[in-house]
């Protein structure tokens, strides 16, 4: 079990049935081991977003196999897939997607809402996760009252709160200025050093070069 990769893709293809059909992914094969920090890098239109959605089980591949912690995702129904996402996958988005009427702590605790965790435990873990991203003192703030970099830290805390097997980050610095982006990258390195498995998608080759492993995408293929 411990030897099994956290994430495995075997010959994954995705075709969008439009006119004409769009081949977003062509036979993508790679795997991510526990504790890795991987960049998936490519220009826009190279299929990285589709790849992220397929890895995150938000979209089923047309062909090929995805395993998360050894579980084959394409065989699961909506309920089982949802539970898999709730327990094993953490998402970080470019636009943060925080609920503005709720506090920072509530936003982070929501990361465990659908994992079947009692409310008291959710809030306790949220405080721990906020501590990890250095925002313990912002717990009672509303997202509208904190800076963009802090918002992304909140989103990262929300992704980490359930201690998922893998964190998928989609251009996490895309909406931030370079200084703030650099500090978010510093945080990602720190979290990885603490043991988190992180796959980060970026179009920025310079950013990708900072990471230990890079998977380059072009026209839906790993190049």
């Amino acid at each position: 079990m411990s030897a099994a990769p956290v994430l495995e893709l075997e010959g994954v293809s995705k075709v969008y049935r439009e006119q004409p059909p769009v081949h977003a992914l062509h036979g993508v094969t790679f795997s991510v081991q526990r504790g890795e920090l991987v960049a998936i890098v490519g220009p826009s239109g190279s299929g990285k977003s589709t790849l992220l959605h397929v890895m995150g089980t938000l979209e089923q591949p047309t062909d090929g196999v995805i395993r998360i912690n050894g579980v084959e995702a394409s065989r699961l129904d909506d309920r089982a897939l949802s539970l898999l996402r709730a327990r094993e996958i953490g998402f970080v988005f470019q636009q943060f997607f925080l609920a503005e009427h709720a506090t920072v702590r509530e936003n982070v605790a929501d990361g465990l809402l659908y994992a079947g965790v009692p409310a008291a435990v959710r809030y306790m873990r949220a405080d721990e996760a906020l501590e990890r991203v250095g925002l313990a003192d912002r717990a009672t703030f509303k997202p509208t009252r904190i800076s963009g970099g802090e918002r992304q830290r909140v989103a990262i805390a929300r992704a980490l709160v359930g201690r998922p097997a893998i964190v998928l980050a989609d251009e996490p610095t895309g909406n931030l200025d370079s200084t703030t982006g650099a500090s978010i990258m510093g945080l990602i390195h720190e979290l990885n050093a603490d043991g988190a498995t992180i796959v980060m998608i970026t179009h920025d080759a310079g950013l990708a070069d900072q990471l230990p492993r890079r998977i380059r995408m072009l026209d839906g293929r790993v190049s």
Binding site: H53, G56, L58, E59, D78, R79, A80, S82, L83, L84, R85, A86, R87, I89, F91, F93, Q94, Q95, F97, A99, E100, H101, A102, D110, G111, L113, Y114, A115, G116, V117, P118, A119, R158
Partner: protein
Amino acid sequence: MSAENGRLPMRDALQVATVGLRARPLRAALSALGIAIGTAAIVGVLGLSASSQAGLLAEIDRLGTNLLTVEAGQRLAGGDAELPLEAPARITHLDHVQQLAHTGLMKDRKVYRNSMIPKGNSGGLEVRATSLNLLPVLNTGVAHGSWLNEGTARLPVAVLGSVAADRLGMDRVRADQRIWLGDQWFNVAGILKPTPLEPDIDSSALVGYPAAQQYLGYVSLVRGEEQAGPPSSIYVRTATGEEAAVQSLLARTANPEAPTEVNVSQPSDVLTARAAAAGAFDSLFLGLGVVALIVGAVGVANIMIISVLERRSEIGLRRALGATQGQIRTQFLAESILLAVIGGVVGVLAGVAATAVYASVKGWAVVIPVEAWSGGIASALVIGAFAGLVPAVRASRLPPTAALRTV
């Protein structure tokens, strides 16, 4: 931790269902308002009609339903019949008759404010001779001044019914108060309270039988002797529960020779009918309430559809966080139901408040039929479920990736 993730715990589900309401409270309030207005109208209409009915029934209860009235009817050959002079005495001997009073209508006598009023302007008022125990039998009383007694019954003294006093321009009784009654002056001794059981008394000037005989020529000949009378209306109080038994005997007892020329009635029947009419709610307002409810439902459906469109990214995020399609559907359906039920509860409270204010002004008991408030809340619930169904299903079917795509 179990693998079961079909449903959120109640508290979490409720919290998730209120996300939209908390994020946009004004919008939620406005869309609930339509349903509130509809429910308030329906509850108000039902509550008001029930309360007014309760008011009338309470009045009937107070006045008693054991009063029967015997009146002279029509002759078989045409023309007005008369009751025999001795009818009251005979009725007294019937079983279960507890009290009896009578009045004699003098058709050709009219009452005026003073002698200068033209004869035609009688104002629809009547002149009656009365037995002295009329008030307790009719369950009414004196509003101003005093009732007739053995002495004043022999003098040109009258007591006015409430309507008669009003038409003659009197709202109180002064010592020298006089009215022009049957071509002579009568003093006014008192004014009666309204008599709901016998509205005829309200528009009458009442004098004693001896006075009627002496001053107004109201006599009949019995074996060559003049006696005051005959009575035209006899009021009978029976033992409670024996009304029907007594009623069946009254016509024959009052006039054994011509029982068909006697009308017997139960005055409380009229009030009971009025109470039934008051209980029949105003269908126009009820219809308006239903229309308001429908408009409210359309409003809620509209808001929910807009809400699903606006909250695509929230839906996508929740799916990414592990929400199932069913949980998304439940969230939006619950939100819609919650919105409608809040409107329904506010509407019920407003309807109850309106009923309470109006009923207490009218002096009625406040009656809110159970069907009114429970129906109001139940219909709000159904409306919420109905209005939220399509948007909720749409939300749950939104592909998570489409929902996460940037605006």
